[in-house]
């Protein structure tokens, strides 16, 4: 079974703090994603990486950055957390090329509250 692991399930951070959300997948997938899920807005893509050290912005990259130094690990960084970044963050991975018909695998999610 594919496993996508998000190390932090529940976090409470203060406004202005730097926050790291870590994600590791164990199936050698090329593509990894970070989403945030908010009620009524669905899953919105923050950043996407298709290879080590490669990244692309999604729909809502402002206030976030990412790091992919190793294939299995994709980190989301909130440079200076703000209350509007309180959300559920989902990491995901997918093998191969975009149109191979592969499905996406999600982590358990990280609930971040910024106070």
């Amino acid at each position: 079974d594919v496993k996508v692991t998000q190390s932090s399930r529940y976090l409470v951070k203060r406004t202005g703090e730097k926050v790291f959300l870590e994600c590791v997948q164990d199936m050698d997938h090329e593509n990894m994603f970070w989403y945030r899920q908010d009620p009524g807005l669905g899953l919105r893509l923050i950043y996407f990486s298709y290879d080590v050290k490669m990244k692309e912005k999604g729909d809502i990259p402002e206030g976030y950055s990412v790091s992919r130094e190793k294939k299995e690990r994709f980190s989301l960084i909130l440079e200076s957390a703000s209350t509007n970044q309180t959300s559920m963050y989902l990491c995901a991975s997918i093998p191969g090329r975009a149109t191979d018909g592969n499905t996406i695998y999600f982590g358990e999610g990280s609930w971040l509250t910024v106070v």
């Binding site: 994603f33 996407f48 975009a98 191979d100």
Partner: protein, 110 residues
């Protein structure tokens, strides 16, 4: 930019009613299309997917979806819903990046 539109934000049905949830996407190239379901308090689960071949795809739990390329649509259907289908449903498109719609909440009254 790629977008995925789900027309219905909240649908309420009685058991045994038929269901159709709309999904349209804006990307013109080759895409893979998916429907996911999220039951209350649970994670996203794959219902069905389309990537080539027969545009009518069948998924789990009696769901099906039809890909109509000319309409950029991938609507989800079920002939007779059950109370246990109460959940939020997400359409998704993979065109290189994996995009999700905003979701449709389905409440099925027993």
């Amino acid at each position: 930019a790629q977008s995925v539109s789900q027309h219905n934000h909240h649908v309420i049905l009685s058991e045994a009613a038929s269901l159709e949830l709309g999904c349209n996407y804006s990307y013109g190239g080759t895409v893979n299309l998916f429907w996911y379901v999220q039951y209350p308090g649970q994670h996203l689960q794959l219902l069905l997917k389309y990537f080539s071949g027969d545009p009518l795809v069948k998924g789990i739990k009696g769901f099906e979806a039809e890909f109509i390329k000319s309409k950029f649509s991938f609507n989800l259907r079920k002939p007779s819903v059950q109370w246990s289908d109460t959940a939020e449903y997400f359409c998704a498109v993979n065109s290189g990046k994996f995009y999700f719609g905003s979701g449709t909440k389905l409440n099925v009254k027993p």
